[in-house]
Symmetry: C2
Subunit: 428 residues, 2 copies
């Protein structure tokens, strides 16, 4: 059984290439994707609705789409990976995970992951030294590993450039999470293809999701068409036509700046991630910046990435508080939300229902009774109904906030999470 972790924002030729390759590697009976919902790891609202992105995924060869709870989707690589791998593990049916990788050097990723999980004393010493020097945690960690590798000769330190690129970093975190959770998941990699790379039978160009979103922003839809599988393009265009997107981070300028102009530093400290002076930086610069871009540039310092700042900028709005992140990162996701499935996915769901480690949410509107039932079941011994509620209500808030930016006011007020059941390709 194949599991993949995706955002599909939007689904493009590179995603289709990855999916096809992954299937070729594992030859799975079923393919499950855990997908970001209304917000992504870059701290942005998804360009189109999670239900439309589910529909595309199903049409392009995924059998079952689960929502990565927002509390993980909008975290750094570590939190994102922990949520995604925990979700796939909670299905109790996923055996293999394939991820995209710039290096495709699984062997060294596994070795590095081992050090990160086992934390030998020498590595910890290096890590503390680098943190003291003022490096951000990811950087300190990278340097500490490099020094450890040089000193212990576990692996060639030159291979460490593999943890400088985003897919490798995520892949490493998947392996780390699996090791920490004691999973026996088999990992495989698909080498990432760059722009304009042509592979057996793949037509069209390979553009990054970021480049494609920029084309959409400029309404250069003919160029978008070349970068997307036909199913993805036509659903994207349909959504745009009815006024359900595209949604951009910049659309939220007034909301984000309005919040930072009116909240106090002290209230801000309740939300996750506002440490290292970021509480002061955000409130100080919010009143001294004319645009959202100016604000982020003013807040930015060497040790922060723009992705991190964008994610943080959404936390006070979505009410993502410190303790919710901490608890979620220790206890894991408390549910699997089914966003959609095809006929094969339906079969898989039947299997999963009997074995999965957390309750399934099929229709979101009855989530309260799902929680109640789960507390009564022996199988869900570690189920935390309060955390379940907090995690799931965050997903709902995120979707309600996302849909506020639809130009179609009817869809804005549709409460999509509560009213839409799982997507199935027969009635999209």
């Amino acid at each position: 059984m194949l599991g993949i972790v995706v955002e599909y924002n939007p689904f493009h030729n590179g995603h289709l290439y990855h999916l096809t390759k992954a299937k070729r590697i594992c030859n799975p009976d079923f393919t499950v994707a855990v997908m970001s919902g209304s917000f992504t790891q870059r701290g942005e609202p998804a360009i189109i609705d999670k239900f439309a992105r589910t529909e595309i995924a199903l049409l392009c060869g995924v059998d079952l789409v689960l929502e990565l709870p927002t509390i993980y989707a909008i975290q750094d690589a570590g939190g994102f990976a922990f949520g995604a791998i925990s979700s796939l593990a909670a299905t109790q049916v996923v055996t293999d995970v394939v991820f995209g990788s710039e290096s495709a050097d699984l062997e060294n990723l596994e070795k590095i992951a081992k050090v990160l999980v086992e934390q030998p004393p020498l590595y910890l010493r290096f890590l503390h030294e680098e943190l003291k020097r003022g490096h951000s945690f990811p950087n300190a960690r990278r340097i500490a590993i490099m020094r450890y590798a040089t000193s212990e000769k576990v692996f060639d330190p030159s291979t460490l450039k593999i943890i400088e690129r985003s897919n490798d970093i995520l892949g490493l975190e998947y392996i780390v999470s699996a090791k920490k959770l004691g999973l026996s998941t088999r990992f495989h990699v698909v080498k990432r293809v760059g722009a304009d790379y042509h592979d057996e039978g793949f037509k069209g160009t390979f553009s990054s999701a970021t480049a494609i979103r920029n084309l959409i922003r400029r309404n250069e839809m003919e160029q978008v068409r070349h970068a997307l599988p036909q199913e993805s393009f036509s659903i994207l265009r349909r959504e745009m036509k009815v006024g359900r997107g595209p949604v951009f981070y910049e659309d939220m300028e007034k909301l984000i700046m309005g919040v930072f102009r009116t909240i106090t530093r002290y209230d801000l400290q309740e939300y996750a991630g506002f440490n290292e002076g970021l509480d002061r930086r955000f409130t100080f610069y919010a009143v001294r910046s004319g645009t959202l871009q100016e604000l982020l540039e003013a807040v930015k310092a060497k040790r922060f990435t723009f992705s991190r700042l964008r994610r943080l900028s959404i936390y006070p709005i979505l009410q993502i508080k410190k303790d919710l992140v901490e608890e979620s990162n220790s206890k894991g996701p408390q549910y699997l939300r089914i966003l959609g499935f095809n006929e094969r996915g339906r079969e898989l769901l039947h299997q999963m229902k009997k074995v999965c480690a957390v309750p399934l949410i099929t229709n979101a509107s009855n989530y309260i009774s799902v929680a109640k039932e789960a507390t009564r079941k022996d199988r869900f011994r570690e189920f935390d109904s309060v955390l379940f509620k907090r995690q799931f209500e965050l997903d709902v808030r995120a979707t309600n906030l996302h849909s506020l930016y639809f130009s179609n006011t009817e869809d804005r007020s549709y409460e999509r999470d509560m009213r839409l059941g799982p997507v199935t390709p027969s009635h999209p």
Copy 2:
């Protein structure tokens, strides 16, 4: 010494008429206006900046403009009037207050005010009965007074229609506040003139501020020109030209709806006024409404006015909490913020400095040291420096939020409250 309470949103021919008449009645040595700052009693952002509105007021004949602290400006008639009358009283130099009135029936307003302040037992019984019947407080009060008048024959109950119109209602509250504060302020009324009313020497038409704001929204500036004194029109047009307005309530749609879509009922209850089920109504309908107008219409019930709902919709954004309103309504404004003055106003300020009952804030950027100094002065025995800080920082937040809606991004980031000193007509 004449005191008036104004919003000047924007300053129109009716305001000039009122000001001229008021001066004719009192023949004052000086005229002081206490003016709403960045938000008004209708719960809307002021159409242009408070500094520009101050400039207009000075050019049109006011000598000194004080800011009505936001905590009062954005309250119902009772809270608004209490803040305004307390501010005028705190100057210790204002002897006469003139207000606009539809009825111009000062005698009966005084009689009604007396009942409201003295609260005879029979009146209280009627009031409780009417509240029990489900009337809103203002309506219950009006009916109770009418019943009391009929029963006690204090005044002809037919005169009670005078407290059905907005200026009379405000005027009544001014008198009530003055009585409660034990002031010897003399009140006078100027009969409000309707549209197209022509008085000795007044040219142009009399349109309501609401009608004028609608004209500005539709950019029908030639019609606006006829309704405004020349100074007001040219400054309004200048502000619009440089991109500092017009600012409308509807511009804040995404911010207001975003907040109500993501806040919980329980967090909402911390803010003032979210009782009578309004916490639930706002959060429930926020996700089920496509526009701000739809939201207000859905939340609206017979017992709420739209002005009240608009004011409430701003409270969570400006962090207006229950205890801040309560404390402010018992202790009064803790400062007088000088927005601007002409040469005569400068003279008046010299006098005021020696006698005023609360500290003066001339340059906002040193408000912390103003508070520190005030705690050391015997004259300010009842000064509350914590409340001072909370009230004043709300004014700053309100201005920073208001300026976010300027199209000119430089002015958006200018921190106007901190950087602009009092307006004087010589260097506007």
